[in-house]
């Protein structure tokens, strides 16, 4: 594995290996006062963010620092990007400085793929437009694995703005790869065409517009953020109406089986996508997701940056 650009880059073995590594890393750091491993000493990781982010960026930075990599943060605001530098020139600049790995978040779908073709550093896609966000999918899978044991045959319901969501796209791909049955629930306006085929031939995705009917048979529910910044037009009449149809209220959460956790990639719009009481209930795995995010990103950095350079990895 040279880059991590999409959840589809990961076959079941590679994904499982990454998740196992994340668990081991968590274990290696558990109960220690000093959160520091020497593993990536002397490697340079740049986080290049063209979109706002709290958790993804902090998570990558912490992951790199806990493994002793040097982490440099570059954001579009306050950099040469604001002066009009192209993505390609910025990429070459970072490459020329000896960067070993670039973590890229960019509003344009496919930007991470483009960058991987331009530079010699490894590239990790930390979200490209409404396309992919593979490390989010990994941390969701890690969280579900912890809560449910295994994903094989589990029914995972993803709810909300599927159309604009890179979390949903990567999530469906990875969860299907790991053997889960994915069900998407959204208003018709927020479902892209061809969504039934996202899971591949072996695990077709089912689609529904009725959240109440979908919840009782779900082993887990993943709420999505409504991406207002990507919406140009009226996708639903009002926030209130969205909440009535697709928000996870307390009454709705009670329809879930007792073992089913609730996930949300954050930042969450409380009261609209998810009720306060649900977000703070024992069912909620939201803080677990954030915690697992650090370990999963450590695992990704470890897999990309340690080991022999010339290795091309198993065909993923």
């Amino acid at each position: 594995m040279r880059h991590l650009l999409a959840a589809g880059d990961l076959d079941a073995d590679t994904a499982t290996r990454l998740l196992d590594t994340a668990d081991r890393l968590e274990q290696a750091l558990a109960g220690r006062e000093v959160h520091k491993l020497p593993t990536l000493r002397g490697r340079t990781v740049v986080t290049l963010f063209y979109e706002n982010s709290t958790r993804t960026r902090a998570s990558f930075e912490i992951a790199g620092k806990w493994m002793s990599a040097d982490v440099v943060n570059v954001s579009a605001a306050g950099s040469s990007v604001a002066k009009g530098e192209s993505l390609r020139d910025t990429a070459h600049t970072l490459d020329a400085m000896g960067t070993d790995l670039v973590v890229l978040r960019h509003p344009a779908s496919g930007s991470a793929h483009r960058m991987a073709g331009w530079i010699s550093a490894h590239v990790v896609n930390a979200g490209d437009g409404s396309h992919e966000h593979p490390t989010q999918a990994l941390l969701d899978a890690a969280t579900l694995r912890h809560r449910l044991g295994s994903l094989e045959g589990r029914r995972i319901t993803i709810v909300g703005d599927v159309l604009h969501s890179r979390v949903a796209r990567s999530g469906v791909t990875l969860l299907s790869t790991l053997g889960a049955q994915v069900q998407l629930v959204a208003p018709p306006t927020l479902l892209p065409c061809g969504v039934e085929n996202w899971g591949g031939r072996n695990s077709p995705v089912t689609v529904s517009h009725d959240l109440d009917a979908a919840l009782p048979g779900s082993d887990a529910v993943m709420m999505l953020r409504v991406q207002v910044e990507r919406m140009h037009g009226g996708f639903f009449p009002s926030a209130r109406e969205y909440a009535i149809g697709y928000g996870l209220s307390e009454a709705r959460a009670a329809l879930l089986p007792a073992h089913a956790p609730v996930l949300h990639p954050g930042p969450m719009l409380r009261g609209m996508e998810i009720a306060h009481a649900v977000a703070d209930s024992p069912r909620s795995a939201i803080t677990d997701q954030v915690r697992n995010g650090v370990h999963v990103r450590m695992a990704v950095l470890y897999h990309l940056l340690s080991g022999q350079e010339d290795r091309q990895g198993s065909e993923a």
Binding site: R17, T21, R24, L25, Q27, A28, T39, G307
Partner: protein, 193 residues
């Protein structure tokens, strides 16, 4: 070229290129002797046996079992994965991580005995010492190995050695244990055979 320590082999003892140096009975006897030595040299201190994955772990458990048999007291056993502390991470294909499990009481002020199957260059032990430092401050650290095959690259020696086996660098020592390989045996063979 250095070969993987004690890598598992599909063993065919008796073929021209490989020889069995220790039989199952020899391994059992050796573990018993090492357990006695550990008791003699550490009593009355509380000992923590820390196995280095993969084959140091079953060895640590066997030693603890023998010690319990001989003294009636139980010994704390843990495992310490040293992969993240290796100095050759970038010279080999990516390595999977193994489990790290420390005993309840931690390592502070304990007498830690690191347990591994083969002592060769000493680099694994150096990595283990680095890793140990992150987990606590033992009163002292000792090293127990089933086989010492020589060729040290660092100033490290073992406190308990099951068997000294002089080897050439191009030979490979494979320690097989029932828990990981289905049989107890120590085999020597030409690298690449």
């Amino acid at each position: 070229m250095r070969r993987e320590r004690g890598s598992a082999v599909t063993s065919r003892p008796g073929t021209a290129e490989q020889r069995e140096l220790l039989t199952a009975a020899d391994v059992a006897r050796t573990v018993v002797r090492m357990a006695h030595q550990i008791i003699e040299r550490t009593a009355p201190d509380a000992v923590v046996l820390l196995g280095i994955p993969s084959r140091g772990v079953p060895l640590a458990h066997r030693l603890a079992e023998r010690i319990r048999e001989f003294t009636g007291t139980s010994t704390a056993v843990g495992t310490l994965d040293i992969t993240l502390y290796r100095d050759d991470l970038r010279r080999r294909p990516n390595r999977p991580l193994a489990e790290t499990m420390l005993p309840e009481g931690g390592l502070d002020d304990a007498l830690v005995v690191l347990v591994d199957d083969v002592l060769y260059s000493g680099r694994t032990v150096r990595a283990a010492l680095d890793a140990l430092r992150e987990y606590g401050r033992p009163r002292a650290v000792q090293l127990a190995v089933l086989v010492d095959r020589g060729h040290r690259e660092l100033p490290i020696r073992a406190d308990y050695v099951g068997k000294n086996l002089p080897t050439a660098r191009d030979e490979e020592i494979a320690v097989l244990l029932t828990e990981t390989d289905g049989t107890d045996s120590v085999i020597i063979r030409r690298a690449g055979s």
